[in-house]
C-alpha cells in the first residue's frame, strides 16, 4: 500500500511541487529590490508594532527576515499543511468512503498495517515537498542575492514539515476514527489554523502567552529557527504529538466497524 499510495500521490505532488516552485521563485525574484533598501526598511518600521509582531515582520530587508515573513510566517507551512491534510484524509477515510477499503481488506493484511503504510506515504510526500522548498530556496536563493545558512534553513524547513505532518496525521487519525473524509479535513485544518493563531496572537496578547505551549506551531517554528537554528526539544514535542496521533489512528481503526 505504501507503493500504491505513493504512486497515486505522484500526480498530485508534481502539481504541488510546481506550485511551490513558482511561489518561491516569485518571492525570490522580488528580493533583490527589497534587499538592503533603506527606504523599504523605513516603511516597515512605520508599520504598527502589533502588525509587525503578528506577521513576524522584522528585519524584512535581510535574507532571513524576508523569508521568514514572506515564506515561512504563513504561506509555506500553510501550503504544505494543506497538502498533508488533503492526503491524510484521502488515504484512509477517502478509501472508506469510496468503498475500496472492502476489497483492500480482503487481502491478508492487518488494519494496523494499512494505517501505518498510508501514514508512511503521507510522511514521505510531506517531506519531499518540504525538501523541494529547501532546495529551491537554498540553491536558487543566492541567484537573487538571498543567502542563508543551510543549517538554519534546514531547521526552519524541518519545523515546517513537522507542523504540516501533524496536520496530515490528524486528518488521517480523524479519518481512522470516523471514516468521514470531509470532517477529517475540516477539523484538521481548524486545529492547524487555531495553533497558528494561538502562536501569532500570543505575541500580542499577554494573557495568551502562557498558553503558547499548547500550539505546535509555536514549537515547530516559534523559536525563529531561520535565524537561531535547531530547537531540538521543541521539535521533539511536535514529533511526539505526531507519534501519539499515529498510535491513536492505529488503535481506533482497528476497533470499529467499517462502512457498510
Amino acid at each position: 500500500m505504501y507503493d500504491r499510495s505513493l504512486f497515486e500521490q505522484r500526480r498530485g505532488i508534481i502539481g504541488w511541487v510546481i506550485g511551490m516552485a513558482f511561489f518561491c521563485l516569485v518571492m525570490l525574484a522580488m528580493y533583490p529590490t527589497i534587499h538592503a533598501n533603506a527606504s523599504f526598511a523605513k516603511l516597515i518600521e512605520a508599520y504598527p508594532e502589533a502588525l509587525r509582531k503578528l506577521f513576524d515582520i522584522s528585519d524584512y530587508t535581510t535574507g532571513p527576515g524576508y523569508l521568514r515573513t514572506e515564506v515561512f510566517s504563513f504561506m509555506a507551512p500553510l501550503l504544505i499543511a494543506i497538502y498533508a491534510i488533503l492526503q491524510g484524509s484521502d488515504f484512509l477515510a477517502g478509501e472508506e468512503e469510496r468503498r475500496t477499503i472492502d476489497l483492500l481488506l480482503a487481502n491478508p493484511i492487518s488494519r494496523r498495517r494499512v494505517v501505518f503504510e498510508k501514514w508512511l506515504a503521507l510522511a514521505t510526500g510531506t517531506f519531499v515537498l518540504s525538501l523541494v522548498l529547501e532546495l529551491l530556496l537554498g540553491l536558487v536563493g543566492p541567484l537573487f542575492l538571498l543567502h542563508l545558512g543551510w543549517r538554519q534553513l534546514t531547521a526552519e524547513v524541518l519545523g515546517t514539515a513537522l507542523f504540516a505532518l501533524f496536520g496530515g496525521t490528524f486528518a488521517l487519525a480523524w479519518g481512522a476514527a470516523t471514516g468521514a473524509r470531509g470532517s477529517a479535513r475540516g477539523v484538521a485544518a481548524a486545529v492547524s489554523v487555531a495553533m497558528y493563531l494561538l502562536s501569532a496572537l500570543a505575541q500580542l496578547v499577554t494573557a495568551l502567552k502562557s498558553f503558547e505551549w499548547a500550539s505546535l506551531w509555536y514549537h515547530a517554528l516559534g523559536g525563529d529557527p531561520l535565524t537561531t537554528g535547531f530547537h531540538y526539544w521543541h521539535l521533539g514535542v511536535v514529533a511526539l504529538s505526531i507519534g501519539a496521533l499515529l498510535a491513536a489512528a492505529l488503535l481506533l481503526f482497528d476497533r470499529r466497524d467499517l462502512a457498510t
Binding site: D3, R4, R98, T100, L103, L105, P108, D257, T260
Partner: protein
C-alpha cells in the same frame, strides 16, 4: 428454525457461525444466526435485499464485528485470526469499488503482492476465463468488466474459500456461465464456496445447499434439489379458442389455478412436460412460463412476507 442435515456431510467444517447477532441502531442486522458450511461445499445465501446476506458475509470477513456469537473459519476465530483466514480466502464484495485511475493489471498485481507474491499465470487463467482487458484504466471499463476484475481478484490463486457476494451482478449470460463453471470447478477441487444472491436461479445453478435469510434470520436450509422440487412454475396461457380447461387443471403437479376469460393461470410443481405437451395440442395466442420470484417463493413456502 429448520435445519436439514444432508446425508453426505463432509468431515470438516469450513466455517461455523454460532448464534451470531449483529444489532444496528437503525434496525436491521441479523439475529441468532447459526450455520455450518462444510469443506468442499457450495453454499448459497438466498434472500431479498436487506435480509442480512451482506451483513453476514462482512462479519465473516471481519469488516464488521458481531454484537454476540462466534464466527470461526477453518477453526480460527474470525476476529483474532483474521489475517490468517484472509490468506486462505478470496472475497468479492457486493458493492464492488475499484481504484479508478489504475488498470486492472496494476490492481491485480498490487493485490497479488499483498498476498505474498502470486504467480501471474494463476491470475492469467482467470483473466482469460472471463475475457478481461487488463491494461485499460478501470474508469473506462463498463460495469460488467469491472465485475470481472473483482471476480479475478477474488479467484486468483485458487483460494481455499471463496466468498462471493452477488457474483453475477452486471454480467452478460455468457460470462455468468463462466462464473458458474469456475465455481463448480472450485468445488470439484475440494474448495469451499459461499455465495449470496437474491436471484433464485443463479443460486440454484451453483449451490449444493441454500440458506434462506429474511429479516436477519435464517429461516431454512435446504438442499437445492429439494428447493427446486418445491418451487412451482407459473404458467400463463392465452388460448385462441374457448377451451375446456378441466383437463389442464386435472394434470398431476398442478397445485393451483385461475381462469380469466380465455387465459389460464396455473401453478405447476415438478415436471413441466405433461403440461407443455398438452398446451402444444392447442392454438395459443400467448404463453409464458416463469419461475416464481423470491418473494412468491417465500410467501408460498415460508409464510407471509415481512410487514
Amino acid at each position: 428454525m429448520e435445519r436439514v442435515v444432508s446425508a453426505d456431510v463432509k468431515e470438516s467444517v469450513a466455517i461455523s457461525l454460532d448464534h451470531v447477532t449483529k444489532i444496528y441502531r437503525g434496525g436491521g442486522g441479523i439475529h441468532e444466526l447459526s450455520l455450518d458450511i462444510n469443506v468442499g461445499e457450495v453454499f448459497g445465501f438466498l434472500g431479498p435485499n436487506g435480509a442480512g446476506k451482506t451483513t453476514t458475509i462482512r462479519l465473516i470477513l471481519d469488516l464488521i464485528r458481531p454484537s454476540a456469537g462466534r464466527i470461526s473459519v477453518f477453526g480460527l476465530d474470525a476476529r483474532a485470526d483474521s489475517v490468517a483466514i484472509r490468506r486462505r480466502l478470496g472475497y468479492l464484495p457486493g458493492e464492488l469499488a475499484l481504484y479508478e485511475r489504475l488498470s486492472a493489471r496494476q490492481i491485480l498485481t498490487h493485490f497479488a503482492h499483498l498476498r505474498g507474491g502470486l504467480d501471474w499465470s494463476k491470475v492469467q487463467h482467470y483473466v482469460d476465463a472471463f475475457d478481461l482487458d487488463v491494461d485499460r484504466p478501470v474508469r473506462s471499463l463498463s460495469r460488467g468488466n469491472r465485475q470481472k476484475v473483482g471476480l479475478v481478484a477474488a479467484m486468483m490463486g485458487d483460494p481455499e474459500f471463496l466468498v462471493l457476494d452477488e457474483p453475477t451482478s452486471g454480467l452478460d449470460p455468457l460470462v455468468q456461465r463462466r462464473v458458474q463453471e469456475e465455481v463448480r470447478r472450485a468445488a470439484r477441487e475440494g474448495r469451499t464456496v459461499l455465495l449470496s444472491s437474491h436471484v433464485l436461479s443463479e443460486v440454484g445453478e451453483m449451490a449444493d445447499r441454500v440458506g434462506l435469510i429474511r429479516d436477519g434470520r435464517l429461516i431454512a436450509i435446504e438442499a437445492v434439489a429439494q428447493l427446486q422440487q418445491r418451487s412451482a412454475h407459473l404458467v400463463e396461457a392465452r388460448f385462441r379458442e374457448p377451451t375446456d380447461f378441466e383437463v389442464f387443471i386435472a394434470l398431476p403437479g398442478v397445485t393451483s389455478h385461475s381462469v380469466d376469460g380465455r387465459t389460464l393461470h396455473l401453478e405447476v410443481a415438478g415436471d413441466l412436460n405433461p403440461i407443455v405437451a398438452l398446451l402444444a395440442r392447442h392454438v395459443l395466442d400467448d404463453l409464458s412460463i416463469r419461475e416464481p420470484t423470491l418473494e412468491e417463493l417465500f410467501m408460498r413456502f415460508y409464510g407471509a412476507p415481512s410487514e
